[in-house]
């Protein structure tokens, strides 16, 4: 795919690199890269890929821009709040490099559409904020034979690894499975705004190397970045013969939606209390209040007499809830306590309630 005069001028610094040159830049122009999640990771990776002259970029995101995104999601401006991320990303990337194609996929990836969306792309970058989607994307990449660069962030820590078909382990070889709710997301745990900038740039680097066929990708190596200590750690891991998707006897032969922690019908049955209602209950007599936040959050503030069972431990510790008790689950915003209620209901604890809005609502009402 020949370069135009404008493209030659724009990518002159690439052309000067022996490892890229005109032939390499033409490879980049012919390449199709899909960025899943236009968030903290997808913002820098998509910007660098567009600037680098990747010919076709796909952006998957079904969310709208929120003001709290702007601390790290550098694709978006203040004026973009409430606008659809995929469409805004497309505008921004085309403004940066009008010579490329940008496809906005304003949808949520599911087993039913993941093949169709990924098909036609050469390299996949995963920067979603849901573990379930990470496994779905990994499985689809293994089944379709697509290279995948997967990254994730939490507070001051980031991780990145690359899967190349036939050359090494996949994401499921690293983390076989993760029940949703076990690992806090950025909204609950917080994240340093610049952290995804580092990891997203690594993802873009890997994608460009894979397209060019130069260097050594992060295959069979997990890179962990600790921003507080400014250290990169690297860990070797291997393909697992018993991996459910890339192992010797795979049990996953089609992309599948993950089992939900609780189904929507169960969650719909949960009794949700406003702060005033919970206060009335507490005033009326002893209530078993179970705070499902992490110990660090619990230590900062909690309701009098509350017991701390982090959501990640709840399934195994439901037996600690005495028969006949009517537990009231509490967390920061109400999201984790709702899932906790669902788990309790499924375990036959019929009278579980959740504090709607969590400790944030409780504090606001006090």
């Amino acid at each position: 795919m020949a370069l135009s005069a404008d493209e030659r001028a724009r990518c002159q610094r690439h052309l000067s690199l022996e490892e890229v040159g005109v032939a390499g830049q033409e490879k980049l122009k012919a390449a199709r890269v899909l960025v899943i999640g236009a968030g903290g990771l997808g913002s820098p990776s998509a910007l660098y890929l567009a600037a680098s002259g990747i010919g076709t970029l796909g952006i998957v995101d079904c969310d709208r821009v929120e003001v709290s995104n702007l601390q790290r999601q550098v694709l978006f401006d203040s004026d973009d709040v409430a606008r659809p991320k995929a469409a805004v990303a497309r505008e921004r990337l085309l403004a940066l490099n009008p010579a490329i194609e940008v496809v906005a996929h304003d949808l949520e990836l599911r087993a039913s559409n993941v093949r169709e969306v990924l098909d036609g792309y050469d390299v996949i970058l995963d920067g979603t904020d849901r573990l379930a989607t990470r496994h779905l994307v990994n499985d689809a990449c293994v089944l379709l034979g697509k290279p995948l660069v997967s990254a994730a962030i939490h507070r001051f820590e980031g991780q990145v690894m690359t899967y190349v078909p036939g050359r090494g382990p996949c994401y499921r070889c690293l983390y076989a499975d993760v029940p949703e709710g076990l690992v806090p997301n950025c909204a609950d745990a917080g994240v340093l705004g610049v952290l995804p900038g580092v990891l997203g740039a690594v993802q873009a680097t890997e994608a460009i190397k894979l397209v060019l066929g130069v260097g050594e990708p992060l295959v069979g190596r997990l890179m962990v970045y600790d921003a507080l200590e400014l250290r990169f750690h690297e860990f070797a891991f291997s393909r697992r013969k018993d991996c459910a998707v890339c192992g010797d006897r795979p049990t996953i032969t089609e992309p599948r939606d993950p089992p939900q922690a609780c189904d929507a019908a169960t969650l719909a049955r949960v009794r949700r209390l406003a702060p005033g209602e919970l206060r009335s209950m507490l005033d009326a007599g002893p209530v078993l209040v179970i705070d499902v936040r992490e110990p660090r959050e619990f230590a900062v503030d909690h309701l009098p007499g509350a017991v701390n069972i982090p959501l990640g431990e709840l399934r195994e510790r439901l037996g600690e809830i005495t028969a006949g008790a009517e537990p009231a689950f509490v967390c920061r915003s109400g999201a984790r306590s709702l899932r906790a209620c669902g788990l309790a209901l499924e375990a036959g604890i019929a009278d579980a309630v959740t504090l709607e809005g969590g400790m944030l609502a409780w504090s606001a009402a006090s």
Partner: protein
């Protein structure tokens, strides 16, 4: 031992902690005495490493809790992250 970010709530936010033992299993037992509840977040009732946790001695993956460790080794706890 180096503690993954999501598990630092058990160590008061501290990234590096010490423990005594000749195997990974012994280190985890000592760690749990110092930071109660932490082992259970990584190891299930059947003594299996949970599927969203990986342990590494220096840079080598731990496949068995009986894996020996030597003085000065670093045991890394790595946890799947969900943020993007």
């Amino acid at each position: 031992m180096r503690v993954a970010s999501p598990l630092r709530s058990y160590t008061g936010g501290v990234a590096t902690v010490t423990a005594d033992g000749a195997t990974v299993s012994e280190l985890l037992a000592d760690l749990d005495r110092r930071h109660p509840g932490m082992r259970f977040r990584m190891i299930d009732e059947q003594d299996r490493i949970r599927p969203h946790i990986r342990l590494f001695v220096n840079t080598t993956a731990v496949e068995s809790l009986g894996m020996p460790v030597r003085p000065g080794d670093t045991l890394h706890f790595i946890c799947a992250l969900s943020g993007g």
